[in-house]
């Protein structure tokens, strides 16, 4: 049960974190042209292109310098500071919305933050739902992060805690493996099932351009 709550805690923080940080950063990339913005976007994509295995040790040292090892912080704080995959995803969605919407709002005196908050976000529900589902799933299934950063039994999330099923070296009991899989999958499926209405609703953009 402890494992379950740790996973839930991490999943909720991570989802909130990426929803906030990635949507606002993606908005910056989609909406504004600024000196350096293209270079920064290239850098953003580049962060996904180096295999994590070779940055693992230096990154561990960063978290160690922050004294965050064996806490849950390395597993959720970064989510509040953006994630290249989701920023790129949301940027693509934001850029497919017509710019005139925002220009009109600006002329009506809507603030820059207001354009993000009152126009971009409500129009992007399907994309944001996608981000929420994906991040929930990624956090729920993340194994390597907890493996490297967590030692204490009471801080382990479910994906790592389920390792206790492997009691000896050579044999995996398949019943246990399947039971563990169900425990891993069920919460994500339920979340998906209830959130998917946002894919069905669609957004009435009809007439905007006409």
């Amino acid at each position: 049960m402890r494992y379950f709550f740790n996973s839930l805690y991490l999943a909720v923080l991570n989802v909130l974190g990426v929803l906030f940080s990635c949507s606002i950063v993606a908005y910056a990339f989609a909406r504004y042209r600024a000196p350096g913005s293209r270079v920064l976007f290239a850098v953003l994509l580049a962060t996904m292109m180096l295999p994590a295995h070779v940055t693992m040790i230096p990154l561990f040292l960063v978290f160690r310098a922050l004294d965050w090892v064996d806490t849950l912080r390395p597993l959720w704080v970064p989510a509040f500071l953006g994630n290249a995959f989701f920023i790129f995803l949301l940027r693509q969605f934001f850029m497919s919305l017509p710019q005139e919407l925002f220009d009109a709002a600006r002329i009506d005196g809507c603030s820059e933050f207001g354009q993000y908050w009152r126009i971009m976000l409500p129009l992007s529900k399907p994309a944001l739902t996608t981000v929420a589902i994906f991040q929930f799933q990624f956090t729920w299934n993340d194994f390597l992060g907890p493996l490297i950063y967590i030692n204490s039994q009471d801080k382990k999330p479910l994906a790592l805690g389920l390792q206790d099923f492997y009691k000896t070296q050579a044999t995996v009991e398949w019943q246990q493996l399947m039971a563990a899989s169900v425990m891993m999958v069920l919460p994500v499926v339920l979340l998906f099932f209830f959130l998917q209405r946002y894919f069905i609703e669609g957004i009435a953009l009809t007439g905007l351009k006409g």
Binding site: P35, V62, R64, L144, Q163, K167, T168, Q169, A170, W174
Partner: protein, 456 residues
């Protein structure tokens, strides 16, 4: 404007470079500094916190830790468990960050890799202080913990490799079912493999005779055992690999011939596919495989999943002899990574965990072979097995079991010689002759060895 951005960019470049260089430098081990802090931390006599990491065996570890804490309340122990094979990235990361645990239970044959690179604490003084006697352990298991004449780990548990045969299938073919297969006669083994293989009308293998080595999915072959049975060595000396040893070439050729005798690699790999390495899915247990070379852990699995299986188990004979055997000692050891603090307390705990009672408790739980001879031959241990006679045979055989090459490049040798996927596959899949494959393996291992000796 232009000059200002340029200098700002320069500034960014310099500061980023400095940050990265500092991090890179921090990755590099700083051994002297670590010893200093170790000495300083020993002084205050407050509660000592020890970390113990183990691949598997969580139940045993928790039980022993509880016992130990009752006796020694002044230490608190944090236990971290891993699935087999998954401790390495974490141990390496933690070692780089100066956060290695106090004690590890890890793969024994990799110890030379750690010790040779300064990644393990020398235990000689403790071995003397605690009167630990090498003769109390199966020789192969002790040997794997020694590098450059010094002790770096205490053997914990082991497992052997044996020829295991299905007596019912042997009887069907009019063979003497109770006699072990003629493992001393390699030609006869090829003939037997062919003879016992039964194919149905549309060419599918009904019963497989023998596959010498692990294919995808099922199995755990005797690759090392065959080499030793043929008198082959993998190293000439500690700086020279010998993967192109003619005796190894011959061994590889024999394995290839075995596979061809049962219909070739297409047939063998097709048969092996579909058997995941999960307890309860075993072609031998279901009577689809006549002979295999595998470990003693099968005994408890057979009892649990295949009650009616009628099988025999025997050690593998040295080629051309009837009463000389060879075997394989796999398994785990307990060690103290380099840079650990509170060495006195750490070794005291290690000694407790590696002790007789603890090894017996571990064996009763998981049914493998303890490295302490007294524990392996303990009557309670032997009688706890569903097959006490075979258990006794297996445990006693560890006296003459062999050990894998003790070298910092042991993993490279193991990958090429035994792992499905590379090295030996070149031969099985007909891409290279055994000679060519062994020459290529030699080149890879020797290069790794040269790199190692160049960096010490």
């Amino acid at each position: 404007m232009k000059t200002s951005t340029f200098s700002r960019r320069r500034f960014l470049q310099y500061s980023a470079g400095g940050l990265g260089a500092a991090l890179a430098a921090a990755c590099v081990p700083a051994a002297p500094a670590m010893e200093d802090t170790g000495a300083a931390a020993d002084e205050p006599m407050e509660a000592v916190n020890l970390e113990f990491w183990s691949e598997g065996a969580a139940d045993w570890a928790e039980e022993q830790i509880e016992k130990y804490q009752e006796m020694t309340p002044s230490v608190s122990i944090e236990f971290v468990t891993f699935k087999w094979g998954e401790m390495t990235p974490k141990l390496m990361t933690a070692s780089a960050g100066g956060a290695a645990p106090h004690i590890t239970r890890q793969d024994r044959f990799r110890m030379a890799g750690w010790a040779g690179r300064g990644g393990a604490t020398l235990l000689d003084d403790f071995v003397a202080q605690y009167n630990i006697n090498a003769d109390d352990y199966f020789p192969a298991t002790w040997a794997e913990g020694v590098w450059d004449g010094k002790v770096y780990s205490i053997p914990f548990n082991t497992d052997g490799r044996f020829i295991i045969w299905n007596k019912d299938i042997f009887a069907e073919h009019g063979l003497e079912a109770d006699d072990p297969p003629p493992t001393q006669d390699w030609e006869a083994m090829i003939g037997l493999a062919e003879q016992l293989t039964q194919t149905n009308d549309d060419g599918a293998v009904e019963v497989m005779g023998f596959i010498p080595s692990q294919m995808l999915g099922y199995g755990n072959g005797g690759d090392y055992v065959y080499a030793w049975a043929n008198g082959a060595e993998f190293m000439k000396d500690e700086r020279t690999a010998w993967m192109d040893n003619p005796l190894l070439v011959e061994t590889m050729q024999w394995q290839y011939d075995c596979v061809n005798a049962v219909g070739g690699i297409e047939v063998a790999s097709e048969f092996s596919a579909g058997w995941p390495t999960v307890a309860g899915f075993n072609p031998f247990g279901t009577g689809r495989l006549a002979m295999m070379v595998s470990g003693d852990w099968n005994l408890s699995n057979f009892a649990r999943y295949y009650e009616d299986l009628n099988f025999g188990l025997a050690p593998w004979r040295i080629r051309g002899t009837m009463d000389q055997y060879t075997g394989f000692a796999g398994g785990f050891c307990l060690a103290i990574p380099a840079g650990a603090q509170n060495l006195e307390e750490s070794f005291e705990l290690l000694n407790f965990l590696a002790g007789l009672d603890s090894q017996i408790a571990h064996t009763l739980r998981y049914q493998n072979i303890p490295c302490l001879i007294a524990a392996a031959l303990d009557e309670d241990v032997i009688n706890s097995s569903p097959f006490p006679d075979l258990r006794r045979l297996a445990n006693e055989s560890m006296n003459y079991a062999n050990f894998r090459p003790i070298t910092p490049v042991g993993q490279e040798i193991q990958d090429l010689w035994t792992y499905p996927g590379t090295g030996r596959d070149w031969v099985f899949y007909g891409q290279k002759t055994p000679e060519e494959a062994c020459v290529d393996m030699q080149e890879i291992v020797q290069k790794a060895l040269d790199d190692f000796w160049a960096s010490v």
